[in-house]
């Protein structure tokens, strides 16, 4: 226990890389999910087919192997130096996290868009909106409400997945903490080291949930609903 501050310091050294990987991964996941999700709904068969290959490819194969594929195999094949620096490796990690979780996110976006009643689309056609306006102004704002809870799950999965970046030697929290294992004097405290680490991930996951809940409330209010919906029903009952 005497070395608590040593352990903490060590893990904190890995925190920036974990935060970058999580933040960057989430940002990329959002962009890819939207593009691929709409791609899955495209009227063009070719677009749907290509996106389907991407989704099944990244969803159906190992994230660890994907990491090695991008960080090692591609780097050697193309003779690129992108795996020479910690930043380069972190960037590869972010790209793989984004591509992997974007494949799951695509299905979330597709499902949420399809859950918007078709009457909304017809109302938009009757007002002569273009297909892009229908999606952007009418369908997506309503679909977002449905997307946020599953995206909350996905982002927490992504956060936890950042530990996999240790495989390609990104100096993130798990990598830094795990290095302590090499010191024989710390071996009796390994339980503490990993416990601190678990708490760190948990706190970050709670932070993600807090932000996502707040966004859910905002999005629900935008479509004239309040969260939780029960309060509204009660309020209306009292008013009537």
């Amino acid at each position: 226990m005497d070395n608590f501050s040593v352990y903490l310091e060590r893990i904190l050294e890995g925190l920036p890389a974990t935060l970058w990987a999580t933040g960057g991964g989430i940002a990329l996941t959002i962009v890819i999910s939207l593009l691929a999700g709409l791609g899955l709904l495209s009227p063009s068969r070719i677009v749907r087919g290509l996106v389907r290959v991407y989704v099944e490819g990244f969803r159906g194969s190992s994230e660890v192997v994907q990491l090695f594929f991008f960080a090692v195999a591609l780097a050697i094949f193309f003779g690129l130096p992108w795996n020479q620096t910690a930043q380069g490796l972190l960037l590869i990690g972010i790209i793989v996290l984004g591509l992997n979780h974007g494949a799951y996110g695509a299905e979330i976006v597709r499902g949420a868009v399809q859950s918007v009643p078709k009457e909304q689309l017809e109302g938009a056609v009757a007002l002569n909106f273009t297909p892009v306006q229908r999606m952007w102004r009418i369908i997506l704002p309503q679909a977002v409400v449905e997307m946020l809870p599953p995206f909350n799950n996905l982002f927490i999965q992504l956060l936890k997945g950042t530990a996999l970046l240790s495989f390609i030697t990104v100096p993130e929290m798990f990598q830094k903490a795990d290095e302590l294992r090499a010191v024989p004097a710390f071996s009796r405290d390994l339980w503490l080291i990993y416990l601190i680490l678990l708490v760190f991930y948990m706190v970050l996951a709670v932070l993600i949930t807090v932000v996502m809940r707040w966004l859910e409330t905002l999005a629900a209010r935008r479509v004239g609903r309040s969260v939780p919906s029960r309060e509204r029903a009660l309020a209306r009952g009292a008013a009537a």
Binding site: E119, E122, A126, L127, N128, P131, Q142, R222
Partner: protein, 264 residues
């Protein structure tokens, strides 16, 4: 008669229109015309294809065969190389400008307040300025009796109020043809009369052409210039409301009206 002129002799023309969903034929070789400013009501049992007709005119469905013309111009098809080919999205956007629709389930946008619901179409589709659209929307909301609900959300309104907003929204698009698809069917009974009165006012004070599907026979009788009775995807009787409702010639019309009256 067939030449389109300044004021077309026909606002809507169905020419040999067939609509099938899979192997189910909903409309069978349908031919009819509606004159400008005419109020035509479609009656008939459910599943007789009435709503499909409105959905075809709104371009929510595509014809299987035949052609629909609005104001003398093809709607379902576009001229290309001297022939008519199925219309693409760009052509449809142009063709849809003349047409508005009010739906059974209102179809208001829950992500916008009442004013925005009414202004969004004119701003995005007609290219009106926000100020101009706001001004017109407020006039229309006053017309439908909802001046005080401008900032409300659709979810905060009663069904009747929502349908009034939907009517204002459709009028804001300045349609030449307005389609009314069972607009009172989803309303509580005590709210029906108000909405029907409003529609009657609009029909008598504007030169909009109406195509209306309703189960409100008294309304159909009061406001229609013509009533068309549908059964099995065909027009079985077509005439002025006095005749259809008091002296129908067709057996199916008689049976249908009898059944509707019994229920009321």
């Amino acid at each position: 008669m067939s030449e389109p002129s300044e004021t077309p002799a026909e606002m809507i023309r169905f020419e040999n229109v067939v609509k099938r969903f899979g192997s189910n034929t909903v409309l069978e070789n349908l031919n009819f015309t509606v004159a400008p400013g005419e109020f035509v009501t479609l009656i008939g049992p459910s599943g007789s294809g009435k709503t499909t007709i409105l959905r075809l005119v709104m371009t929510l469905e595509r014809v299987t065969e035949g052609t629909i013309y609005v104001a003398g111009e093809p709607l379902s098809h576009m001229p290309k190389g001297g022939k008519l080919v199925p219309a693409d999205e760009k052509y449809l956007r142009q063709a849809r400008k003349r047409i508005g629709m009010v739906f059974q389930q209102f179809n208001l946008f829950p992500n916008m307040n009442v004013l925005r619901n009414v202004t969004e179409g004119p701003v995005r589709s007609l290219g009106k300025s926000r100020d101009e659209a706001d001004k017109r929307a407020r006039e229309l909301l006053e017309l439908v009796g909802l001046s005080d609900k401008v900032d409300a959300r659709p979810t905060q309104l009663s069904g009747g109020q929502q349908q009034r907003v939907a009517i204002a929204r459709a009028l804001a698009m300045e349609p030449e043809v307005l389609l009314l698809d069972e607009v009172t069917s989803a309303l509580d009974p005590e709210l029906v009369t108000g909405v029907l009165h409003l529609l009657k006012d609009i029909a008598t004070t504007t030169d909009i052409t109406f195509l209306c599907v309703t189960h409100e026979m008294q309304f159909a009788r009061d406001v229609s210039d013509r009533v068309m009775m549908f059964d099995g995807g065909k027009i079985v009787e077509d005439g002025p409301p006095e005749k259809i409702f008091t002296a129908p010639e067709n057996d199916r019309t008689r049976e249908f009206l009898q059944a509707v009256l019994d229920r009321a």
